[in-house]
């Protein structure tokens, strides 16, 4: 069984990636990296990561979020985060990455922020 499943859907020109599982060293991080690269390759550079069903993330997973943010920014786009669990919120606070990412608790608000 895969560590993570990533489901893609579109809301206008925003690509929403719903992550379900673990974003940890190995398979989970690699899957996120591959998906971001593919989406960017398709010319989509407004990306919303829905982390509501991410049960676990480690420093490699956090690093992958950062790499994704950087990659999207380099393409002139924006990557934002939705539905952080309390644990992920804590990890982003510890790493001071809450100063980097735009984080939302509501999908509608998140989508509005892209425009």
């Amino acid at each position: 069984m895969a560590d993570i499943t990533i489901t893609e859907r579109q809301a206008g020109d925003v690509t929403i990636l719903d992550l379900d599982g673990k974003v940890t060293i190995g398979e989970g991080s690699v899957a996120l990296r591959s998906t971001i690269r593919r989406v960017l390759g398709e010319g989509k550079n407004k990306i919303l990561l829905n982390l509501g069903r991410v049960g676990y993330i480690d420093s490699s997973g956090i690093g992958e979020l950062v790499s994704s943010f950087t990659a999207v920014s380099k393409e002139g786009g924006t990557l934002k985060l939705l539905n952080l669990t309390e644990k992920i919120q804590d990890l982003l606070a510890i790493t001071k990455l809450l100063t980097v990412f735009d984080v939302f608790e509501n999908e509608a608000d998140a989508l509005s922020s892209f425009n």
């Binding site: 190995g26 480690d58 490699s60 690093g63 950062v66």
Partner: protein, 136 residues
């Protein structure tokens, strides 16, 4: 009484999950609170990942030795690799503004944030030993 658990792990990424599962099971046996279990799980993941990647550098001829036990100090975890060692003070602070967008370098921060005591030493026979304590 929960005895000390000892594992010998291969220097592969899959060992991280194996080690974390053992640590979680140990913590659950002690009936520890969920946040304590999470802290121990994460610290073990980060330390074993470091041992695999940076210590033993994925060398299949080098193992990682993990111990999980309980003492008066709390839950004690040691992770030992057989690499060339490192100096924690050489690791840049990932929360410095110049490092925020770096992809790596947060493992030790998590270990120090979630465990009450983290110490590195160079054991006889080479390599690096990290000892972490979670007070109960």
């Amino acid at each position: 009484m929960t005895e000390t658990r000892e594992l010998k792990l291969l220097s592969v990424i899959e060992s991280v999950d194996e080690a974390a599962a053992a640590a979680e099971a140990y913590a659950r046996d002690l009936k520890l609170a969920d946040d304590v279990v999470f802290a121990i799980d994460l610290a073990v993941r980060e330390s074993v990942a470091n041992a695999v990647k940076h210590g033993n550098k994925f060398d299949k001829d080098k193992q990682i030795e993990l111990t999980i036990g309980k003492s008066v100090a709390g839950v004690e975890i040691t992770v030992r690799d057989f690499g060339t060692g490192f100096r924690p003070e050489d690791i840049p602070d990932p929360t410095d503004s110049e490092n925020l967008l770096k992809a790596n370098g947060r493992g030790i921060l998590f270990m120090r944030s979630f465990m009450d005591d983290v110490e590195w030493s160079n054991p006889n026979g080479g390599g690096l030993l990290v000892k972490m304590i979670k007070k109960l």
